[in-house]
């Protein structure tokens, strides 16, 4: 019962920390838009925090370069467990289109483990909201019911990817390259 209560509490108030790993700020603006009244992520109890010490979820944007990697890892380590990472934007998902660069290591998962991928250039605020909601669905049954309702009413294919789905996508791309 206590575990259920804790899970419920964590699902009801996920505090996010915005982590810019080198983004052009396009996805950052969309993250801010997702938190504003029009898309209103805050109705799910989401609060934007300035310190990773207070955060449960990282919204990470931008490709990870050699310069930023240590800093991203340090910030991630300074957050308390349990913590989750949502990679927002195509740069955060894969580092594209900068990935072949000499200093670019890849997406956010080149430095820290990622729990949800939200592609887009920039990622739409509703896609970001859907990604956070899918993350919450693992904790909160009501969020899971809401996610199912959204998936029944709208076409959500390709909006967000879990790590397993992203691995399948990468395998398909690698296979297509031959």
């Amino acid at each position: 019962m206590l575990d259920g209560l804790v899970k419920w509490a964590r699902g009801k108030s996920p505090w996010v920390c915005h982590l810019n790993c080198g983004s052009c700020n396009g996805c950052d603006i969309e993250i801010v838009a997702a938190l504003m009244p029009r898309f209103d992520l805050e109705r799910f109890g989401v609060l934007l925090e300035g310190s990773p010490r207070h955060a449960d979820v990282f919204l990470a944007t931008g490709p990870v370069t050699r310069q930023i990697r240590d800093r991203v890892v340090r910030v991630y380590e300074q957050a308390a467990d349990p913590k989750f990472v949502v990679a927002v934007g195509t740069c955060g998902v894969s580092g594209s289109p900068f990935y072949p660069g000499y200093n670019v290591l890849g997406g956010v998962d080149a430095a820290i483990p990622v729990d949800m991928y939200v592609p887009g250039c920039p990622a739409r605020p509703d896609a970001i909201s859907y990604g956070v909601l899918r993350l919450l669905a693992t904790l909160d049954p009501k969020a899971e019911a809401l996610v199912q309702e959204i998936e029944e009413r709208y076409d959500t294919e390709g909006l967000v990817y879990t790590p397993e789905e992203m691995a399948q996508q990468r395998d398909q791309v690698e296979g297509a390259r031959g």
Binding site: L2, R53, D70, R74, Q78, A80
Partner: protein
Amino acid sequence: MTASAVLYHPVVVFTLCMMAGWGVYALGRALAPASRVVGGKLKTYACGEHVEGESFPTAYHLYHAAFIFTLLDVVALVLGTVTGTAIVWMVAAYLLVGLIAIIILFKD
């Protein structure tokens, strides 16, 4: 001695409050995941940068009046709340410690 007299005794109230605080902390400790000290977790947060702690001397010279006021304010509070049955030597010892603190602070 009645039960309420025992329950409302300052020492008992203090102990109960401490136990309540420890209980809340223990509950949080039980619910939270096990603490893992990895990498820079215990370092100062500075937007991911590695910063070393710096030490600097405290500068009281600009706040003499405020500091003396703080000390004497507490002393006055102690004197004002002393009951008629208080042990005189304990009050005198407290005042002496306050006086020594002021002398040390102004020694330089």
